[in-house]
């Protein structure tokens, strides 16, 4: 027992409703029987796995303030900015070179609409004129790619708020790893709704912004967005940057050491080990804004996902924290721990540390 279950969200407008607590029913059945088969934990790397999608602004267009060069790459993009897209894929042997992937890049509208709803991966080539294409379009193939955000359209789509536009442009990536079935086979299986074993699929909302500069750009193009005065704090938000995994704190017993990502550190195999991503002000993108007559400090919320290349005894009480605790358990030799840090605006960064069990 002990399954973490979720409720089906209930929309009062969606009446009438037939209750579907199927997960709970399953919990009842499984709780009674306790007969679940053994399943690899979600954080255990057993084959090629999509870790992150590195999205960086590598070329600025004519809109917005000049990007300040810092140690963190910019994630927010404005129309005509150029983005670098690098899929981060790992295997049991370590990271897979993005250039070795055989993939296809697709631009579409809205997270979840690229691969979960549409079944056409052989769509048209993108024309470069629509920020949110009505139907998915292909803009590149291979491994890493670049994408220039199309210019401000003459007409905005039927949207209720500008926020829909901000989160609208989405990229999807379908690929085969070097030892995989190949891109064509993956696409054929996807469209036939057959097993996609060995194929890689990722999807990310690109994130237009920063909001204030995007609003200025759109208003300069003649759109009346009707931004509420209460949105001042959001309009003051700076261009979002990707967080990074540069330094990790390794704690065991009374010991605490800080190591750079990618380093190897010796840890005792019989003690609880705690890893924490050391974050910086740049990761948090902190900024001040006036709320009423008060100055308030705003910053990003960060969370993290952890992966291990060997099975260990995880001791985490809550998921997705920027720290994790575990014991070596049955693991031997060196355990590689990957971590992806994400902010709440789409930025993400990744790193790893090798723990040599003593």
């Amino acid at each position: 027992m002990g399954g973490r279950l979720r409720h089906r969200p209930i929309d009062p407008q969606d009446r009438p409703v037939t209750l579907c607590p199927t997960g709970r029913l399953a919990a009842l059945l499984l709780g009674v029987t306790g007969c679940t088969p053994s399943i690899d934990p979600s954080w255990l790397i057993t084959g090629p796995r999509e870790l992150a999608l590195d999205v960086e602004v590598i070329g600025q267009g004519p809109y917005g303030q000049p990007i300040i060069d810092t140690s963190r790459s910019s994630r927010d993009a404005l129309p005509l900015d150029t983005l670098s897209l690098r899929p981060i894929v790992i295997d049991t042997e370590g990271p897979i070179e993005p250039e070795s992937l055989d993939g296809r890049w697709i631009l579409c509208s809205g997270l979840g609409n690229c691969l979960l709803r549409d079944r056409e991966l052989d769509g048209p080539r993108c024309t470069g004129t629509s920020i949110q294409p009505a139907a998915p379009c292909i803009f590149d193939e291979g491994g890493p790619a670049t994408l220039t955000i199309p210019d401000v359209p003459p007409l905005l789509p039927e949207i209720s708020t500008i926020f829909t536009l901000v989160s609208g442009p989405t990229v999807a990536y379908v690929a085969s790893p070097p030892e995989g079935p190949g891109l064509d086979a993956c696409i054929a299986r996807f469209e036939a709704r057959e097993r996609l074993d060995g194929c890689l699929l990722m999807e990310r909302a690109l994130g237009l912004g920063p909001l204030g500069e995007l609003v200025e750009t759109l208003e300069a193009a003649g759109f009346d967005l009707g931004i509420d005065e209460g949105a001042e704090s959001l309009l003051a938000r700076p261009r979002n940057r990707n967080p990074a995994v540069q330094t990790l704190q390794v704690m065991y017993g009374t010991e605490s050491v800080e190591v750079n990502a990618g380093a190897r550190v010796v840890v005792p195999r019989d003690q609880e080990i705690r890893l924490t991503v050391q974050t910086t002000e740049e990761d948090l993108d902190a900024y001040e804004a006036m709320v009423g007559d008060q100055t308030v400090l705003f910053s990003d919320n960060l969370d993290a996902q952890w992966w291990f290349d060997q099975e260990v005894d995880r001791l985490d009480e809550l998921p997705n924290r920027i720290f994790t605790s575990f014991r070596a358990g049955t693991a031997t030799g060196t355990v590689r721990v990957y971590v992806v840090v994400r902010d709440n605006l789409g930025g993400e960064g990744w790193g790893f540390v090798d723990l040599e069990l003593d």
Partner: protein, 831 residues
């Protein structure tokens, strides 16, 4: 007690030898069949005595007056042979069991007298010599009973003896109230004995039906009626002529009406009579029974999940039954979860079901062929989450659903007319609390309904039946949604209220024509449905024909139209069932058929167009009577159902009109080879599919297997009575897996992996098979009987897949989940 009886004054010589012969055979301990044979022979004889008769002029005499009753039931046993004779030397007062050496040494007694008990089970002997005598009770179908009694001189000694029935006939025959006539091509009736003793059914009447052809094995072996590939919501259970709001308790754990209160249970998988409507699948017709008038009786029962009790008896010229059941499975599960938490240290989040039901029945004859009955019954269910403190904040969930119903039944037969009138009132109350108490829903219904039916013979070969059924439902629905951004203990809620009327009306007529070997029963039913100011209508002509080809062979054919108002539960047909829940580190997917295990509480009528689903039923059956022991039958069926889907405005993936089509073959060989052995073998072959009528060219399918497309279903079962009131039964099932929609891959999103589904119902769970065994033991005492049973499901612990588990990233199917071997046991006391 009886008064002076002249029976023992009848000619004595004639019966003397047969009475002793009977007794001599019966003295052989452990030969009940011999007793039966011996007592059957002189059935028309009158009591007599052997010589020499005691001479009360020279000996002091007394009298013996007594009664014979059935042990465990306390009802009089008429026509039992009562033999009195001198007691063996040294015999103690009380029950007498001759030892084998005594039996061998036994010689013809000095005298013996016998007589038969009357209809009240009483007997009386005058002029018996004072002192100890032996009284022997002999009756076919009952165990021999011997008692040593002291006859006091000049006095009448009284005696009450209980004799237990032989193990082959532990079930009592009850008076059957004639149900509403039905026409059918295929109809199966389950007896009380079968319901109580079928392995794997736990004495539940509707679960027992799952052993018959045409009924699919439901997911996880729970209680659902999937008849001939139709969704459970498309079949109806009628109790006393009115549709039941729900036939099963929550999560389909048990029927809401216990087997002990039933008179008859008829299962009609298709082509049912025009008297029944608002169903396009099959129907189950249940008639409550009348209470016993031979004394006060009842039972109490305990098993792992519930306790139940019943009492019945006479009231004036009529009778009553009071019964109730209360489940405590929530307590059992909560305890198990608490133990698990303590042992594993893992928090648990579990659904706890609890239910009760009650029945109160009063039947009373009014004279002149009239009969009135008052029936009150109801059911209440609670499904609530049991949360460990770690998850209590986010998973508050509770569902309550109750109904209470009061029926009045008036029946009259006079001068060729047969009238039945049953007004009924029902109150339903449903309440949901979800989303950590940020969302609440309530619906209350006050429902009045009536069924009226008149039948009359139109001569020796024809009978006309006309009737109507009407239901008017006044509902009130209240939604309460916590306002966004609110916090604190007292959340502000936004209320939405809805109030209205919905109704259904049916008018029907059928004619029964008996033309020699040919029987025809054409009929028609007109249906009207309304919700507020929206209406739907349907006219359903139906008919069956049957012919007795010979004494052993019969052929039946049926063709008809059936309609049902569409309800929100039909959304299951259009791909709206939620699937996939993270559990125990994996993602679990249920076949769509699981959607019907939900409480299926519709809180407010659909706002869109009101339509009626329309189905064509065609079936043909060939039946062969296997002597007097059983029958074999082969039935072919076809159902073509136009779903008449109203436009859905909720962005559904598949808001297209559709046809549900099912066809197949059912075979059954059913026999009762002796009083001790019954069983059957049933097989169903079903093809059930959904055909989309409006799917655009890009839609991935235009036809797919139905959620209930269980291709093969083989059931073989038998129950056998062993000596000493042991009974053993077994059921073997071999069943195709249900279709399910596979997950073919996943998309890595920042929040985790989202599944990519394959074709709807594009995969099928593997074949499942399992053996269930049931062992009963009954102990009969004078006034009560005690039965204990063990019902073991899945004896050889076969993992029959019910659910599909995927690794969290959906890269592979991690395996299937099935129910393991599951023993249940219970104890029941009858009095």
């Amino acid at each position: 007690m009886v008064g002076t009886d002249r029976r023992d004054e009848l000619p004595r010589r004639r019966f003397a030898r047969s009475a002793w012969a009977m007794l001599a055979v019966a003295l052989t301990v452990g030969a009940p069949r011999a007793i039966e044979a011996a007592t059957t022979e002189p059935a028309t004889s009158e009591p007599a005595t052997t010589e020499p008769a005691p001479d009360c002029r020279s000996t002091r005499c007394g009298a013996l007056r007594g009664e014979v009753r059935v042990a465990g039931q306390r009802i009089p046993l008429p026509d039992a042979v009562v033999v009195v004779m001198p007691a063996p030397p040294g015999a103690e007062l009380g029950p007498f069991r001759p030892r084998p050496e005594q039996t061998e040494q036994e010689t013809e007694p000095a005298w013996a007298r016998s007589q038969r008990s009357d209809t009240a089970g009483t007997f009386a002997f005058e002029d018996l010599p004072a002192g100890r005598i032996r009284v022997a009770i002999l009756a076919p179908g009952y165990e021999r009973r011997d008692e040593i009694v002291e006859i006091a001189p000049g006095e009448a000694t009284t005696l009450r003896l209980y004799t237990p029935p032989l193990s082959g006939a532990p079930f009592r025959t009850v008076v059957s109230a004639r149900p509403v006539p039905r026409s059918q091509v295929t109809e199966h009736v389950l007896t009380a004995e079968e319901i109580a003793t079928l392995p794997g059914s736990q004495g539940d009447p509707l679960r027992a039906l799952q052993n018959l052809p045409g009924v699919a094995r439901p997911p996880a072996g729970l209680g659902l009626l999937v008849i001939r590939g139709a969704a459970p919501s498309q079949s109806q259970v009628f109790l006393g002529g009115h549709a039941m709001p729900r036939a099963f308790h929550i999560l389909s754990l048990a029927s809401v009406f216990p087997a002990d209160v039933l008179d008859e249970l008829h299962y009609v998988p298709g082509n049912f009579d025009a008297a029944y409507g608002n169903a396009t699948g099959g129907i189950v017709v249940i008639e409550p029974r009348r209470g016993r008038r031979d004394g006060f009786h009842g039972y109490g029962e305990l098993d792992l999940s519930a306790a139940s009790a019943m009492v019945e008896g006479p009231v004036g010229k009529g009778s009553f039954i009071l019964a109730a059941q209360r489940a405590y499975i929530d307590g059992v599960l909560a305890t198990a979860a608490a133990v698990s938490e303590r042992v594993t240290g893992e928090p648990s989040d579990l659904l706890l079901p609890r239910y009760y039901d009650y029945q109160g029945l009063l039947d009373y004859p009014l004279g002149n062929g009239a009969w009135v009955a008052v029936r009150a019954f109801g059911s209440g269910d609670v499904l609530r989450s049991r949360n460990s403190p770690e998850v209590a904040e986010t998973s508050v969930f509770q569902l309550r659903t109750d109904f209470h119903r009061l029926d009045l039944v008036f029946r009259k037969r006079r001068q060729g007319w047969r009238v039945r009138l049953t007004p009924s009132f029902r109150f339903e109350n449903n309440r949901l609390v979800a989303g950590a108490d940020t969302f609440r829903r309530r619906r209350r219904d006050a429902i009045g309904s009536v069924r009226a039916e008149v039948a009359r013979a139109l001569g020796p070969r024809a009978e006309l039946t006309v009737g109507t059924d009407f239901e008017l439902d006044g509902y009130f629905a209240l939604d309460e949604q916590a306002e966004l951004g609110s916090s604190g203990d007292e959340l502000p809620f936004t209320e939405t209220r809805d109030r209205g009327l919905q109704s259904s009306l049916g008018v029907y007529g059928t004619v029964l024509l008996q033309l020699g070997r040919l029987t025809l029963r054409p009929g028609v039913r007109w249906n009207g449905f309304s919700v507020g100011d929206r209406f739907a209508f349907a006219v359903d002509p139906r008919g069956v024909a049957g012919i007795d080809v010979s004494d052993r062979w019969r052929i039946d054919l049926g063709l008809g139209r059936y309609s049902q108002v569409r309800s929100i539960a039909d959304r299951n047909e259009v791909d709206l069932v939620d699937q996939g829940s993270g559990i125990q580190g994996a993602s679990l997917f249920l076949p769509s058929a699981f959607g019907n295990l939900d409480p299926a509480v519709t809180f407010a009528p659909q706002d869109s167009q009101l339509n009626a689903r329309e189905a064509l039923h065609a079936s043909a059956s060939v039946r062969y009577r296997i002597g007097d022991v059983g029958r074999a039958e082969l039935t072919g069926f076809f159902r073509n159902q136009y779903n008449n889907v109203p436009p859905l405005s909720d962005g559904a993936d598949n808001p297209f009109d559709s046809i549900s089509r099912a066809g197949g073959v059912e075979a059954l060989v059913r026999a009762r080879l002796s009083e001790k052995l019954y069983g059957w073998v049933g097989y169903t072959l079903t093809f059930a599919e959904l055909i989309l009528l409006q799917a655009p060219p890009t839609f991935p399918y235009t036809r797919r297997p139905s959620d209930y497309d269980q291709r093969h279903n083989l059931v073989a079962l038998a129950s056998y009575v062993l000596p000493k009131r042991w009974r053993v039964g077994g059921r073997f099932r071999l069943v195709s897996g249900l279709p399910y929609t596979p997950v073919v891959g996943s998309v890595a999103l920042p929040g985790g992996y989202q599944p990519i589904f394959g074709l709807r119902n594009g995969s099928r769970l593997p074949l499942s098979h399992q053996l269930d065994l049931r062992v009963d033991k009954k102990w009969i005492r004078d006034r009560v009987s005690v039965t204990a049973y063990v019902d073991i499901q899945n004896v050889y612990n076969r993992v029959n897949p019910e659910l599909v588990l995927y690794a969290t990233d959906f890269r592979r199917e991690a395996g299937y989940v099935g129910l393991p071997i599951f023993p249940s046991f219970g104890v029941r006391l009858d009095y």
